[in-house]
Amino acid sequence: MAKQIEVAELDAYYGSHKAIEGITMTVEPRSVTAFIGPSGCGKSTFLRTLNRMHEVIPGATVQGKVRLEDQDLYGPDVDPVSVRRTIGMVFQRPNPFPTMSIFDNVAAGLRLNGRFSKSELNGVVEESLKGANLWNEVKDRLHKPGSGLSGGQQQRLCIARAIAVRPQVLLMDEPCSALDPISTLAIEDLISKLKTEYTIVIVTHNMQQAARVSDRTAFFNLAAQGQPGKLIEMAETSKIFTNPTEKATEDYITGRFG
C-alpha cells in the first residue's frame, strides 16, 4: 500500500508571500525520506502541500503538481479531505484530542469513515497501538484520557492515530523535537519498523537523526530572508552526508551555517 510521490514545479504561497518555489522531487515508496534545512526555508510548508494541509491556513495557496502514483492530488475533482485520509500526518507537538480517551483517539479517524463493529474497532485499535509500540504501556488504561500520557507516549499515540486509518504515506514534521532522548529513540525505532509498509517523509533539524533513520535526504535552503525556499539537492542519505554535490549542503551539514 505504500506509494511513490512525484512533485513537479511546486510553489506555495501564504497570501502573496511565496514561501517555496519550483520544487521538483520524487519520494520513493517503502522508504524514509528526510527533509533538512535551516529554519524558515519551507520544509513544513512543503510537507503540508503533500497532503493538502497547506490550504487549511486561510489565504494559503499552491501551484504545481503533486502525484501519488498516477493520481494528481490537486486535480479538479479531487477532494482534499480524501487526500488527507490517504496521506497521514504527525505534527511537531503531540496533539491528542484532550476530551477523548486513548481508545477514542486511535479510533477517531476510523469512526469518520463509516461504521465499524465493536470487535473490528477493538482489533484496529490494538493493531495500531502495537504498530506504534505503545500497546504494552496503555493496554490497561485504554479508556483514560490521552492527555494523561507522557509527551513521548502522546506522540506515539498520535502516530497510532495516524496509522489506524491505513494511510499510504505518513508525513512527520519534526516528530521528536518536543521529546526527550529516550522517547526520541522509541520513535526512531518505530519509524524504521513502519517503513516496511509505509512511505515516510520526515522533517528534522537533527542531522544524526536524519542519518540514522532516512534512506534519502533532501536539503532545502533559501537565498535570503524573505526569499522563497528551494530544494538544493536530494540524494541517498549516505551521499548527502559524505559527499554532497552542492557547497551549500556541505556547509550546512558540517555546521558551517544554519
Binding site: 500500500m1 492530488l73 479531487v78 477532494d79 490517504t86 469513515n113 493493531e127 486509518v165 491505513r166
Partner: protein, 297 residues
C-alpha cells in the same frame, strides 16, 4: 493488514459525509442570515417610521400643552434629560470604576479585599437594570425622601456602568507593559505619579472606548429611569429637582398612546436614540481602531 479498509488510490469520501458537511454549512450560513433579519428590520423601520417626525420641531420642542391626540410636539426635553443623566452617571461611575481598577491592578496583591471586589464586580455585571432602579427608589426616594429627579436616574445608571468601566480599565491597565512602569520607577518617579503620568495615559484610549460603550448601553436603559426619574412633558433642565424626561421614557410613554401621531413621535424618538447610541459605538470603535497595534504594525 487484514482489515477491510485496505484499498488503493485516493478513495472519495462517502456521499453521506459530504452531504452532512454541506447541510451544516448551509445551516450555519442560514443562522447568520436569521440573526441579521431582525437587525435589518428594526433599523429599516426605525429609519422609515422615524423620519416622518424627525424634524426641527421634534428636536426643539417639548410635549408641553400637547394633548395625546395632537400632532406636533417634540422630544427636546427628553434629549436634554438623556444627555444630562448620562453625563451625571458617567461623572459618578467613571471615577469610582477607574480608581477601583487602579486598586485592583496596581495596589492590591490578590488579597482578600481585592478578591471580594472582583467577585462583586462580577455580581454587579449581572444586576438586572430594573433592580438598580428599585434600589435607588428604595434608598434615595423612599428612605431618604428625595423627589424623583434626573440625578436619581443618573445614580441608577451609574450602578449599571460601574462594572463595565472597572473591567474595561482593568483589562487596559494589565496590557501596559511592566517595563514602562519599571522604567518610570527607575527614574525615581513615585508610584502614584507613574500611574497617573505613565500608566493611565498609555491605557487611555482603551479606557475611553470602554466608557463610551458603557455610556451607549445605559443611554438606552428605560426601566431604571422609569422608577427614579418619572415622567414629564415639560422641559426641566435641572437634573437635581423634579421629574425629568429622557429618550427611552419618551419612546415608552408615546408608544402606549393609542393614536398614530404619538406612535410617530415614538419612532422619531427611537431614531434619535439609535443615532446617539450608534454614534457613541462608532466613536468607540474608531478610537480603538485608531489605537490598535494592527494598524500601527
Amino acid at each position: 493488514m487484514t482489515t477491510a479498509t485496505l484499498k488503493t488510490g485516493i478513495q472519495p469520501i462517502s456521499t453521506g459525509r459530504r452531504v452532512k458537511d454541506r447541510v451544516v454549512q448551509v445551516l450555519v450560513y442560514l443562522a447568520f442570515l436569521v440573526a441579521v433579519v431582525p437587525l435589518v428590520s428594526v433599523l429599516y423601520l426605525v429609519i422609515k417610521n422615524g423620519l416622518a417626525r424627525f424634524d426641527m420641531e421634534f428636536l426643539t420642542h417639548s410635549m408641553r400643552n400637547i394633548g395625546p391626540n395632537d400632532a406636533g410636539g417634540g422630544a427636546y426635553h427628553a434629549i436634554v434629560g438623556t444627555l444630562e443623566q448620562v453625563l451625571l452617571a458617567s461623572l459618578i461611575a467613571v471615577p469610582i470604576g477607574l480608581l477601583t481598577a487602579v486598586y485592583l491592578v496596581e495596589y492590591s496583591r490578590g488579597g482578600r479585599l481585592a478578591r471580594a471586589i472582583s467577585f462583586f464586580v462580577d455580581v454587579m455585571t449581572g444586576i438586572p437594570s430594573v433592580v438598580a432602579g428599585l434600589f435607588i427608589l428604595a434608598f434615595w426616594i423612599l428612605v431618604l425622601g428625595f423627589e424623583f429627579s434626573g440625578f436619581a436616574g443618573a445614580m441608577a445608571l451609574s450602578i449599571l456602568m460601574m462594572p463595565t468601566v472597572v473591567r474595561a480599565t482593568e483589562e487596559m491597565l494589565r496590557l501596559v507593559p511592566m517595563d514602562l512602569r519599571e522604567a518610570a520607577f527607575a527614574l525615581g518617579v513615585p508610584k502614584w505619579r507613574t500611574i497617573v503620568k505613565v500608566v493611565l495615559p498609555t491605557a487611555l484610549t482603551g479606557i475611553v472606548t470602554g466608557v463610551m460603550l458603557a455610556v451607549a448601553r445605559v443611554a438606552g436603559e428605560t426601566a431604571p429611569v422609569l422608577l427614579t426619574v418619572f415622567f414629564t412633558d415639560s422641559i426641566n433642565t435641572d437634573p437635581f429637582h423634579g421629574p425629568q424626561m429622557d429618550l427611552p421614557l419618551f419612546i415608552f410613554s408615546q408608544m402606549q398612546l393609542p393614536n398614530q401621531t404619538a406612535i410617530d413621535r415614538a419612532w422619531a424618538g427611537a431614531l434619535t436614540l439609535i443615532l446617539i447610541v450608534m454614534l457613541l459605538n462608532l466613536l468607540a470603535r474608531l478610537i480603538s481602531w485608531w489605537r490598535s497595534p494592527v494598524r500601527k504594525g
